[in-house]
């Protein structure tokens, strides 16, 4: 049975071009780029070349503003802790209730350390309200950290707009965005629409590079302090011997991703939309989370089925070779369902039955056909077992007191 991989917001397959670009740096070009001999020139140059490629892809900004890290999570840690450390005079951080844990948990940690952290709520469409954001801004605001696109729902946030409002309110406010899910799916330009963003995180493994490499953009002049100390690498901004092959892979992947934002993502969006519309027609009591949002990533489809539980859906899909994910409690490692879906107030009868399908440029129409073919039956079978489903009328059946 062939694997149908539609969990690309979790990680992606390594592109053959990326692997090919990396290979020489595992074998012949293994030298430490910090070494003095001639042989080390090639890996050292490869890193600088990678930096230039990435800077070019993201708006033609000055390459020196990028530093390489081990992951987007590390980039987010460096962005937030590095900014807080460098600016002790201000105490307020504004972020959102729907960030990836690598920002959300730092927010909670900063609150434990006594900072004033605001978690902006979202409306049932999953959108942030500018009014609430503006109300949160104050003379104490140190930084804002708002993701470009949500990993679970694919909802895109008006980061460019919010960054501009923050800067016009007070140019000293530092703006961070986690762009991990956005690269290769949205237009991302640090010179034009994102020109007010100071710190920008992303990683390789969401764009067909390997796991274990990321980058952080720190705009020149930003009051920020390095987070990992212990070496002069990356101009003292991120210590540790550079992971040369992975950095080369990240740059190659970035190039391919940005080139695909046009036609390739149109094709992906068309497949996603077809999947969405067909499933909405063939499965009763289905929610498309984020459907009402102004903009969603073209590859992401977050569904919720009333009256069934997500883990059981995933297990059944996996039996058909289909790899997807769920925000249900049983899959999250905690016993609570996804914080993103909770923040959006997804109905309690559906929140445990969520399913995220995330496509990539390697997804085919045949694979979409297969999902369309098997998913309705899986849901129907599980609903047959469910005490909350009325088989005769094919609808949700709730007890009188759902909370009891």
């Amino acid at each position: 049975m062939d694997t149908i991989y539609v969990d690309n917001n979790a990680t992606t397959a390594i592109a053959p071009e990326v692997l090919a670009a990396m290979l020489p740096y595992f074998t012949d070009q293994y030298f430490n780029p910090s070494s003095m001999y001639d042989a080390a020139r090639s890996p050292a140059e490869a890193i600088e070349q990678a930096r230039q490629t990435i800077a070019h892809c993201l708006g033609g900004v000055d390459p020196d503003q990028f530093l390489f890290t081990g992951s987007a999570t590390e980039s987010n840690n460096a962005a937030l802790f590095g900014t807080v450390q460098a600016n002790p005079q201000r105490r307020q951080v504004i972020t959102t209730a729907v960030e990836h844990p690598s920002v959300l948990e730092i927010g909670k940690e900063l609150a434990r350390r006594g900072l004033d952290v605001t978690f902006l709520p979202v409306d049932p469409n999953g959108e942030l309200e500018l009014e609430t954001f503006i109300k949160a801004l104050s003379s104490e605001t140190l930084m804002i950290s708002i993701m470009l696109a949500n990993n679970e729902t694919g909802i895109c946030y008006p980061v460019a707009e919010m960054a501009r409002i923050a800067k016009e309110t007070d140019p000293r406010i530092i703006v961070h965005t986690d762009a991990t899910q956005a690269i290769g799916k949205l237009e991302v330009n640090l010179a034009t629409h994102l020109c007010h963003v100071d710190l920008f995180s992303f990683s390789g493994h969401k764009i067909h590079a390997p796991k274990g490499v990321g980058a952080l953009f720190v705009r020149r002049g930003t009051r920020w302090r390095p987070f990992i100390l212990g070496g002069h690498q990356e101009r003292g901004r991120r210590a540790g011997t550079e992971n040369v092959p992975y950095i080369v892979g990240l740059a190659k992947a970035c190039e391919l991703a940005v080139a695909g934002v046009g036609d390739e993502q149109i094709r992906v969006r068309r497949m996603r939309d077809r999947l969405q519309v067909t499933l909405e027609e063939s499965i009763p009591a289905i929610e498309v989370n984020g459907k009402g949002a102004r903009e969603r990533l073209p590859n992401t489809l977050n569904l919720a089925f009333h009256g069934v539980e997500g883990e059981a859906i995933l297990y059944e899909l996996s039996r058909h070779g289909i790899c997807a994910s769920s925000g249900s409690a049983c899959t999250s490692g905690s016993l609570a369902p996804s914080h993103v879906l909770q923040a959006m107030k997804v109905p309690f009868t559906a929140i445990h039955g969520s399913l995220r399908i995330s496509l990539s440029r390697y997804t085919t129409e045949t694979e979409i056909d297969r999902i369309i073919q098997v998913l309705p039956e899986i849901i129907a079978n599980l609903r047959r077992l469910s005490p909350y489903w009325d088989d005769r009328n094919n609808c949700l059946a709730l007890p009188d007191d759902p909370a009891g």
């Binding site: 909670k108 309110t169 077992l385």
Partner: protein, 314 residues
């Protein structure tokens, strides 16, 4: 983490989903015993019913002949429900004897369960107990003889300790003793309690206090208390008069100007000296239109309200 289910769990689940002959999904019309545990809010729920072969003279010698379930939940919740029904039917048990079926029996039948899924088996055992009580009432059997403590609990609701999973103090006390739960993670694995917001872990009268009281020891602290983030800030709204005045100037001077150009203005907020407003206009051919509109508004506000005001377009 990928699934760590036993073959038995997977087989029972698959048979159930496919509605294979011999599986126990369903409801019994007018059952002799009916019980529920869990809720859709908590993420899993079991509705359980059974039928007995009635003994002509002594109800305590009734024998369970048929058991059925409906389950909302994960793979192992569905498998545990199958296991419960199969165990009862295969065992030809009396309802009283069924009370001795524990979650441990279900786990054994299932060939083991991952730690964080123990609660699926507890759900089965709880629903069974409730169903037996239901049977006892219908048949006029005094179940208090068999389960005095349980009955007492049924009568008093008790304080809710874990709000996320609606776990009451009497219920937690009984299960902590019954299952020998020593730490908060063990409670969460078995009962789900404490697995949501985690507020109940270390608050007074919370899970740790219950454990300390029951076992008389201080079990290791397993998690850092979360800090409630208080977003209630001091009211930072601008003075009423300023807002009033800005609105007035917009109404009397600015809106008409903008409307003449096919545009409009909506006041979003005022913070200190910053006026946030939404500007629309039809001068879209002109690339500087946004800036022009903004300056027009700002000039009027500076002139007619306060020199220090700034306009920020939203």
């Amino acid at each position: 983490m990928p699934w760590e289910y036993s073959d038995k769990v997977l087989q029972l689940f698959q048979d159930a989903v496919r509605g294979k002959a011999g599986t126990h999904m369903g409801i019994i019309e007018n059952p002799d015993g009916f019980g529920e545990h869990g809720s859709i809010v908590c993420g899993d729920a079991l509705r359980f019913s059974f039928r007995v072969k009635r003994h002509p003279t002594d109800p305590t010698r009734d024998v369970i002949t048929e058991a059925r379930y409906q389950t909302f939940g994960c793979t192992s919740a569905i498998a545990a429900s199958e296991a419960l029904c199969a165990l009862l039917e295969e065992g030809q048990k009396t309802p009283i004897a069924a009370l001795h079926v524990t979650n441990q029996d279900l786990i054994e039948y299932l060939g083991g369960l991952p730690d964080q899924k123990i609660h699926c088996s507890v759900m089965g055992a709880e629903a069974l107990q409730t169903a037996v009580i239901d049977w006892a009432q219908k048949r006029g059997v005094d179940v208090a003889d068999f389960l005095p403590q349980l009955i007492k609990e049924e009568q008093e609701e008790g304080r809710i300790v874990c709000r996320c999973f609606a776990a009451s103090e009497p219920y937690l006390r009984r299960k902590i003793r019954e299952l020998g739960l020593r730490t908060i993670p063990e409670i969460t694995n078995a009962l789900k309690a404490g697995g949501g917001c985690t507020t109940c872990h270390h608050q007074p009268g919370g899970l740790q206090d219950l454990l300390d009281e029951i076992w008389g020891t201080h079990a290791p602290v397993d998690s850092t208390p979360t800090v409630a983030i208080d977003k209630a800030e001091a009211d930072r709204l601008s003075p009423y008069q300023l807002g009033k005045r800005v609105e007035q100037v917009i109404a009397t001077h600015i809106r008409s100007l903008l409307r003449a150009e096919g545009g409009d203005i909506e006041l979003v907020d005022i913070q200190e000296d910053r006026v946030y407003c939404r500007l629309t206009g039809t001068c879209s051919a002109c690339p500087g239109a946004d800036q022009t509109l903004k300056m027009l508004v700002e000039r009027h506000l500076k002139e007619l309200v306060d020199e220090r005001l700034r306009v920020i377009a939203v």
